[in-house]
């Protein structure tokens, strides 16, 4: 097991490095000079020494690769510098927003998993007509844009029924509507995967045998189908979590949920590149950790793989 972990990390290292490089490159090469922007906001007459001093401060006077290595070495010590916009350290900025986004992503994931399992399994076991209707509902939910759904939910729940608040300060009650929005969309899309996977499993011979043996449907589901689908499902769950972490930006801004989405939108419009770089690195790390977890679940659920890993 330890060897597996080590191998996994070793193969992931180039990916992580590549990601950090791209994150750095994207931000450094994009137009929009934060130095000039800053001076402009101050209304100062920039003397050439001033410009040079600010450039040196941000390390902009050195060539690209040496800047990259400087940044990388500091990043490994979790020092991502200071936010240009607010002056706080980038780590502090991210920590202000991270809990909110994690809470939203986790609760949306749980909601989506629950919803997808209910929808997918019902579609598989129901009769022709109900099954088709459920599948139709799933496809419909997948097709609806999340931001439109969010606005409709606001209209119904906040205006007509008065149940929710619009100005979120991160308390639990404010989490319900955004979670509902994200869970419906992600849950429908996961539900499709569940349906497809379970249906594919049901075509296998061992299910034929189980039916012939006279096992009850719930037993077949949980003892024969679920262990085999859990692997690929876990991978999709990990991907969905990664997508929820990064892609909830629009929903966060509509509901005023104080998460990372707001941070990155503001950082991009203010050309706050230390924040943008750190955000990209965190997203990559998040993706890496969740796919690692998914791989774990895959291995744990498949006895053959388990043996393989613990032996070799």
């Amino acid at each position: 097991m330890r060897r597996f972990l080590f191998m996994r990390l070793a193969t992931a290292l180039p990916t992580l490095l590549g990601m950090s490089f791209i994150a750095f490159a994207i931000v450094s090469l994009a137009p929009g000079d934060p130095v000039m922007q800053e001076l402009r906001a101050m209304g100062v007459v920039p003397k050439p020494e001033d410009i040079l001093a600010i450039r040196a401060q941000y390390g902009l006077d050195k060539p690209f690769f040496s800047r990259y290595f400087d940044w990388l070495i500091r990043a490994l010590q979790f020092d991502f510098g200071q936010s240009i916009a607010s002056g706080r350290s980038v780590i502090d900025e991210i920590l202000i927003h991270l809990p909110a986004t994690l809470a939203l992503a986790l609760s949306s994931l749980i909601g989506a998993i629950g919803f997808s399992l209910a929808l997918g399994l019902a579609a598989v076991s129901a009769g022709r007509a109900t099954g088709a209707a459920l599948r139709g509902l799933t496809i419909l939910l997948v097709s609806v844009p999340s931001f439109w759904l969010a606005l409709l939910l606001i209209y119904v729940f906040v205006f007509q029924l008065g149940w929710g608040r619009l100005v979120g300060d991160g308390s639990i009650g404010d989490l319900i509507l955004p979670t509902l929005t994200l869970s419906l969309g992600a849950g429908a899309s996961l539900g499709r995967v569940v349906y497809e996977r379970v249906r594919a499993e049901m075509c296998e011979d061992h299910i034929r045998l189980a039916i012939a043996k006279g096992l009850a449907p719930p037993v077949i589901l949980f003892r024969h189908i679920v262990p085999r689908v859990i692997g690929p499902l876990a991978t999709t769950w990990a991907n969905t979590f990664g997508a929820l972490l990064g892609g909830a930006v629009i929903v966060e801004s509509i509901f005023g949920w104080p998460g990372l989405g707001q941070l990155i939108l503001q950082a991009i419009s203010q050309r706050d590149f230390p924040v943008i770089q750190a955000y990209l690195v965190f997203m990559g790390l998040g993706f890496f950790i969740t796919s690692l977890l998914a791989d774990f679940i895959v291995i744990l659920s498949d006895p053959q793989l388990r043996r393989e890993v613990s032996n070799g």
Binding site: I26, P31, V142, S146, W148, G246, L280, G284
Partner: protein, 289 residues
């Protein structure tokens, strides 16, 4: 033949074999045809220009003059939705074409080469896939300035790795077939193998992938326009229209409902087509308990 009869149900009324997949496919194609018709409607019916403002009739609900109402600047909503068909659907198809242009060769080369080339190519794809789509799109828009073209490129840049992976998976399965081995042993050139043996095999599942991905791409493009970084005013585009409708949705709900429905139905059309195709292609029948 047996399979088909078992999968489908014969409806004497219609004298057709129907299955959920087929119904879905037909429904999807029908919806798509409706959109094409809507897009062409401007040439047939006399609709007002999508950009002409009639400030006295701002935020009017549906009426005889304006079947779907007017927006906050007095522009006819129906005309704008119809004009948006070219733009939104066109952008989605353009993005899909760009994605395929990269993902197809990438996946085929990686799948056929195997070994180190495959590993490197997939590693590069993984690196890009790890970034959230929005951030990549914003980065590209930072380079190019906000516009529909920039958002198309941004979506293409974010989407091609996952498509490349899917193509590669299909190619890996396809190249293991006996006749492909045979062709190689006969000395067929790479190109011939790809064109005559691999591509025909992967095209049907690829069609499924294309329609399903087009649906996602359309959603992503309208999301970017909703944020204001895709299609720019006054271009009629469904996502942009939803963005403009936000301040007014308490007073003029039709501004919000119509473009939202348009996006949902268009995406639904592609999803139905994709799912329908997949149903038809999937010959396996689950054992019912």
């Amino acid at each position: 033949m047996d399979d088909i009869i078992r999968k489908t149900r014969y409806l004497p009324v219609l004298r057709l074999h129907v299955s959920a997949g087929r119904v879905g496919l037909v429904l999807g194609l029908f919806l798509l045809a409706e959109f094409v018709a809507l897009g062409l409607a401007g040439y047939v019916i006399a609709l007002p220009s999508p950009n002409s403002m009639d400030l006295l009739a701002r935020l009017d609900g549906p009426s005889a003059d304006h079947p779907l109402g007017t927006d906050h600047l007095g522009r006819d909503v129906l005309a704008r939705v119809a004009a948006a068909v070219h733009i939104s659907l066109g952008a989605a198809l353009a993005a899909m074409a760009a994605i395929l242009a990269i993902a197809l060769p990438w996946g085929i080369i990686a799948g056929l080469s195997g070994g180190r080339v495959d590993a490197v190519m997939m590693r590069l794809a993984d690196i890009i896939m790890a970034f959230p789509m929005l951030v990549l799109a914003l980065a590209i828009i930072g380079f190019m300035g906000a516009s529909l073209q920039a958002s198309i490129l941004g979506v293409a840049a974010a989407w091609w790795p996952s498509n490349a992976r899917m193509v590669r998976a299909l190619v890996l399965a396809a190249k293991e077939r006996d006749f492909v081995h045979a062709a190689r042993l006969c000395g067929a050139s790479r190109g011939r193998i790809v064109l005559r043996h691999i591509l025909p095999q992967i095209l049907p599942p690829l069609a499924v992938i294309i329609s399903l991905e087009t649906a996602s791409v359309l959603l992503a493009l309208s999301a970017l326009s909703f944020l204001g970084i895709g299609a720019q005013a006054p271009t009629p585009e469904w996502g942009a229209m939803l963005n403009e409708a936000r301040p007014f949705f308490a007073q003029a709900p039709h501004m919000l409902l119509v473009p939202g429905l348009a996006v949902s139905l268009a995406v639904l059309a592609f999803n139905l087509i994709g799912e329908g195709l997949r149903d038809i292609l999937d010959q396996r029948e689950p054992y019912q308990w």
